[in-house]
C-alpha cells in the first residue's frame, strides 16, 4: 500500500511540471503582448517600455519561465497586472465561491444523475429508460451559456423569483446566497448529471448481472430491495470516485456559467485574464486547479485500491 502510494506520489511531480510548461507556453505565446494591452487607451510608449521590462518580455521564454517557477517555488504566484493584486490573494478570495458552486452543482448532478441511471439500468429499454436518458442528457445537449440566459430571462425577469446575477457571501446573507447560486449550479450540474447517469447505469448494469445479486433474487427478496440495498451499495463506490474526477469537467463548465451569471469565481477570473493577457493570473489559477485535480485523481485511485482487494495484490 505505501509502496503504491509512494509510486503514485512520485508520478505526480512530472505531471505538475508538464502542467506548468503547458500553461506557461500557451499564455506567453498568445499573440499581442501584455504590455500593449495593459498600457490601455493612451498607449504611452513609456508605460509600454516599463511594463515590458517588468514582465521580462524582452527575454527568451525559458528565462521568463524560470522567473515564474522561481517565484512559485517560493510561494509567490505573481501579481495581476490589471488590478495589481497578488494572484494568491485572488485565488483565496475566489476559492470559496467556486467551491460552493462546484459543490452545489455536484449535489444537483447526483440528485438527477443517480436516480436517472438507476431507472435506466433497471427498466432497460422501456419508456422509463428513454425518459431517464433524455432528462439526464438534455443538460449536456444545450450550451450552458444559452441555458443560463434563458433561465435568467424566465426566473429573474419574467417571474422575479431569483436574482439575475451576482454573488453575496453565505455568511452575509444565506438566503440571498442560495438564491443567487441555484441557477448557475443547476446549469452546471445538468451537464454533469448526464455523465453521472452514464456511470451509474454502467455500474448498475454490471452489478445487476453479478452472482451475489442473483443470489439475492433467488433468496426471494423483492426487486426494490435487491436494487437499492445490494446493487446500489456496491455500485456507489465507482460512481462516487468517478464523480470526484468530474471536477475537471465542472471547472470547464464553470468558465462560461460564471461569465453569464457574473459569479466571481475562478472561471470568470481565467477568461478575463486570457483576453487581458494577464499572464500571472491564468498561470497561477490553472496551476492551482490542475494540482487540485491531480490530487483528487490520486485520492480516487487510492479509494479504488482500498476497495478492491484484488488490486492490492
Amino acid at each position: 500500500m505505501t509502496q503504491y502510494l509512494a509510486k503514485r506520489l512520485a508520478a505526480i511531480l512530472p505531471t505538475i511540471f508538464f502542467v506548468t510548461v503547458i500553461i506557461f507556453t500557451l499564455q506567453q505565446l498568445l499573440p499581442g503582448d501584455a504590455a500593449t494591452i495593459m498600457a490601455g487607451e493612451n498607449q504611452d510608449p513609456n508605460v509600454i517600455a516599463y511594463l515590458r521590462q517588468k514582465l521580462h518580455l524582452d527575454e527568451p521564454i525559458p528565462v521568463r519561465y524560470g522567473y515564474w517557477i522561481w517565484g512559485v517555488l517560493h510561494g509567490d504566484l505573481g501579481e495581476s497586472l490589471r488590478i495589481q493584486e497578488p494572484v494568491l490573494g485572488l485565488i483565496l478570495q475566489k476559492l470559496p465561491v467556486t467551491l460552493e458552486l462546484a459543490a452545489m452543482a455536484m449535489l444537483i448532478a447526483l440528485v438527477i444523475g443517480i436516480p436517472a441511471g438507476i431507472v435506466s439500468a433497471t427498466a432497460k429499454d422501456s419508456v422509463w429508460d428513454y425518459a431517464a436518458n433524455v432528462v439526464a442528457l438534455w443538460g449536456l445537449s444545450t450550451p450552458n451559456f444559452w441555458l443560463g440566459i434563458l433561465m435568467i430571462l424566465l426566473f429573474s425577469v419574467q417571474l422575479g423569483w431569483l436574482p439575475a446575477s451576482g454573488y453575496v457571501s453565505p455568511f452575509e446573507d444565506l438566503q440571498g446566497n442560495l438564491a443567487a447560486m441555484i441557477m448557475p449550479a443547476f446549469v452546471l450540474g445538468n451537464a454533469i448529471a448526464a455523465l453521472l447517469m452514464r456511470h451509474t447505469r454502467s455500474a448498475m448494469l454490471q452489478v445487476l448481472n453479478a452472482d451475489y445479486v442473483r443470489t439475492a433474487r433467488a433468496k426471494g427478496l423483492d426487486e426494490r430491495t435487491v436494487v437499492l440495498k445490494h446493487a446500489l451499495r456496491n455500485a456507489l463506490t465507482p460512481i462516487i470516485t468517478l464523480g470526484a474526477l468530474e471536477f475537471g469537467t465542472l471547472l470547464s463548465g464553470a468558465v462560461l456559467t460564471e461569465q453569464v451569471f457574473s459569479i466571481p469565481g475562478f472561471g470568470k477570473l481565467i477568461v478575463d485574464a486570457v483576453f487581458n493577457r494577464d499572464y500571472a493570473v491564468v498561470q497561477g489559477v490553472v496551476l492551482f486547479t490542475s494540482t487540485v485535480y491531480i490530487v483528487l485523481n490520486l485520492l480516487a485511485d487510492l479509494a479504488y485500491f482500498l476497495v478492491n482487494p484484488r488490486m492490492r495484490g
Binding site: 499581442g32 510608449p45 488590478i83 495589481q84 440566459i149 435568467i152 451576482g166 457574473s262 493577457r277
Partner: protein, 499 residues
C-alpha cells in the same frame, strides 16, 4: 405598549430606513487598478467620479466648472495657470487638501513608475505653491487643452500621506477626497464605497453607500435592473432601447459621446500601405467613403443610437468644421473614382474586434461597399492581438473606436501627429503637425476653430481615418431616481442623484 413609544419607534425605523440608502450601479466591465495615476480604462473613471474629486470638472456643454479649484487664471504669456483652491476640503483620511497636496499629486502623476498621466501632463514643467490655497502650474509652452486634462484623471487628487504610506500598492486602498470613500473591493465582483461625512458638497449627496458591480453581458445587466437588483446601469445595448421605452417601467437617458467610431486605414505605417490600393491611392479611399451610407449604418448597426459624423468631433460640437460636411452616399461617383484609379474591384482586409457590435458594423460596411465594387474581407481579431498588429502596421483597415476627450485635441493629436502612439495609419505630414501644435498653443477658441477647419479639410482629402459615427451613451435606471445628469463623457455623477 405606549402609543407614543410605538410612533417614535416607527419614525426612528423609517428614518433609519431612508438613511441607509445604497445606490447599486452595474458596469459593463470590471475596472482596472483604482489609482488615478495608473488607471487606464474608461469604466474605472465611473468609479472615480464617486471616489476622487478633481481640480475641475466639465458640464453638459463641455464648459470647465470648479470642483476642487474654485477659480483659475492664465498668465499673460499663457505659460502659467494659477488656480485658487477650495478651502475646508479634506481627504478621506482627514488630511487637509491644500496647494502642497496639489503639487505632490501633479508630480506623482508625472513620475510614478508606469504612470499613464505622464504623457497627458507633458507640457507641465513644474508646480509652484504660491500660498496655502493657491497653486501655479508652469508650462514649457502654452497648452490650451490643459484645463480639460485637469478635468480628468490627471486632475484627481489623492491624499499625499496615504500615497506615501503605500507607494507600490495605492490602488488597493485608494484615499481621495470625493463624495464617497473606499470600503472594499472584491475583484470582478463588487466595489463598495461609503459616504464621506466631511465632503465639501455633502448637501448634494443623498446616498450612504454606492456599489459598483461588473456585469459583462448587456442582456444580463438589463435583467438585473429589471429585477430590481441594480438601480443604475451603463451602456445599455441599443437594441434594448425600444423595448425599455415601450415598457415604460425604467428611466432612460442618453447623450452623444465625445469619441467616435471609425475605420483607420494603413496609409503609411508599414509597407502594407503601398501594396494595397486602399492604402496607396486616396481616390480609392474616397470611393470607399462614398460607398457608405452613414445614416444607414447607424440605423442597422446601432439601432439608430448614434449620430453620423465625419470628423473627430460630432457635428454638434463647437469645434466641428462646418466647411467639411458629411458626404452623402454616392455609389456612381465611387465607381467612377475606382475606374479612374484603375482598380474597379479593390479588395482589402478589414480588421475587426470580436464583439457583436463591431461585427455588425463590419458586416454592414462590407455589404454597402460591395455595391461600389469593393471586396471587403472581415478579419476578426481579438482586441489584444489587434492592438499589436496595428502598432506594427500589420493591417490594411482597422475598425477602431475612441472613447473621446473633452478637448478636440484629445481626439486629434495622438492620432494624426507624426509618430504619435495612436497614429496607426502612419500618415505623417509636417503641415499637420504644425497645425496641431498651433491649435494647442492658442487659447482663443475662435482661432482654434479656424485651425481645425483647415485641418479638417486636409484630413478629409487624405482620409487616413474614415470617421463613421458618434455613439450614444445609454443609461437605464430605476424610475425613482432623479437628478440624472447627462454629460457627454459618459460618467455617472452622484452629486444631485436622489431616489
Amino acid at each position: 405598549m405606549n402609543r407614543k413609544f410605538v410612533m417614535a419607534l416607527g419614525l426612528a425605523l423609517a428614518a433609519s430606513a431612508s438613511m441607509a440608502q445604497t445606490l447599486r450601479i452595474g458596469l459593463a466591465e470590471d475596472p482596472d487598478v483604482l489609482d488615478p495615476s495608473l488607471a487606464r480604462s474608461f469604466v474605472g473613471r465611473i468609479v472615480f467620479a464617486s471616489l476622487c474629486d478633481k481640480l475641475v470638472d466639465i458640464d453638459e456643454k463641455l464648459n470647465i466648472v470648479p470642483q476642487l479649484a474654485t477659480s483659475w487664471q492664465w498668465s499673460a504669456d499663457n505659460k502659467a495657470l494659477t488656480m485658487k483652491l477650495r478651502p475646508g476640503v479634506t481627504f478621506h483620511d482627514g488630511e487637509k487638501f491644500d496647494a502642497a497636496a496639489v503639487k505632490y499629486n501633479i508630480e506623482r502623476h508625472k513620475t510614478i513608475a508606469g504612470s499613464n498621466r505622464r504623457g497627458e501632463l507633458l507640457p507641465v514643467s513644474s508646480v509652484d505653491v504660491v500660498d496655502d490655497m493657491t497653486v501655479r502650474l508652469n508650462l514649457s509652452a502654452p497648452f490650451s487643452p490643459l484645463l480639460t486634462v485637469l478635468a480628468d484623471r490627471a486632475g484627481m487628487m489623492v491624499s499625499p500621506k496615504a500615497a506615501q504610506a503605500n507607494p507600490t500598492n495605492f490602488g488597493a486602498k485608494p484615499v481621495c477626497s470625493g463624495p464617497f470613500k473606499f470600503v472594499e473591493r472584491i475583484a470582478q465582483d463588487k466595489i463598495t464605497l461609503e459616504r464621506y461625512a466631511n465632503y465639501w458638497d455633502k448637501a448634494n449627496i443623498h446616498f450612504d453607500k454606492v456599489t459598483f458591480q461588473p456585469v459583462v453581458d448587456s442582456t444580463v445587466r438589463l435583467a438585473n435592473l429589471k429585477s430590481g437588483q441594480l438601480d443604475f446601469i451603463e451602456r445599455v445595448a441599443p437594441s434594448d432601447v425600444a423595448a425599455i421605452k415601450k415598457e415604460g417601467k425604467l428611466g432612460l437617458a442618453r447623450i452623444t459621446e465625445l469619441g467616435y467610431q471609425g475605420i483607420t486605414i494603413n496609409t503609411g505605417k508599414s509597407d502594407l500601405a503601398q501594396k494595397n490600393p486602399l492604402g496607396r491611392d486616396p481616390r480609392v479611399r474616397e470611393a470607399f467613403e462614398l460607398s457608405l451610407d452613414r445614416a444607414g449604418i447607424v440605423k442597422v448597426a446601432m439601432d439608430g443610437e448614434a449620430e453620423p459624423g465625419n470628423q473627430w468631433v460630432s457635428p454638434g460640437n463647437a469645434f466641428y468644421a462646418k466647411n467639411v460636411p458629411i458626404p452623402k452616399r454616392d455609389v456612381a461617383r465611387a465607381k467612377q473614382l475606382l475606374k479612374e484609379a484603375g482598380v474597379p474591384n479593390p479588395s482589402f482586409t478589414l480588421m475587426t474586434g470580436t464583439t457583436s457590435d463591431a461585427q455588425r458594423l463590419a458586416q454592414v460596411v462590407q455589404a454597402m461597399a460591395k455595391d461600389a465594387g469593393f471586396d471587403v474581407k472581415i478579419q476578426s481579431t481579438e482586441f489584444a492581438t489587434s492592438l499589436n498588429l496595428a502598432d506594427k502596421g500589420q493591417f490594411e483597415a482597422y475598425v477602431l473606436a475612441w472613447s473621446g476627450r473633452a478637448d478636440p485635441d484629445g481626439n486629434l493629436f495622438s492620432f494624426h501627429g507624426c509618430k504619435q502612439p495612436l497614429n496607426y495609419s502612419g500618415e505623417c505630414r509636417a503641415n499637420w503637425d504644425e497645425l496641431l501644435n498651433r491649435s494647442r498653443a492658442t487659447l482663443d477658441p475662435k482661432e482654434r476653430i479656424k485651425i481645425f477647419a483647415t485641418l479638417a479639410a486636409e484630413i478629409e482629402k487624405e482620409r487616413p481615418i474614415i470617421y463613421l459615427y458618434h455613439r450614444n451613451w445609454l443609461w437605464a435606471f430605476n424610475k425613482k431616481l432623479t437628478g440624472m445628469r447627462t454629460v457627454p463623457d459618459g460618467l455617472i455623477r452622484v452629486q444631485g442623484l436622489k431616489m
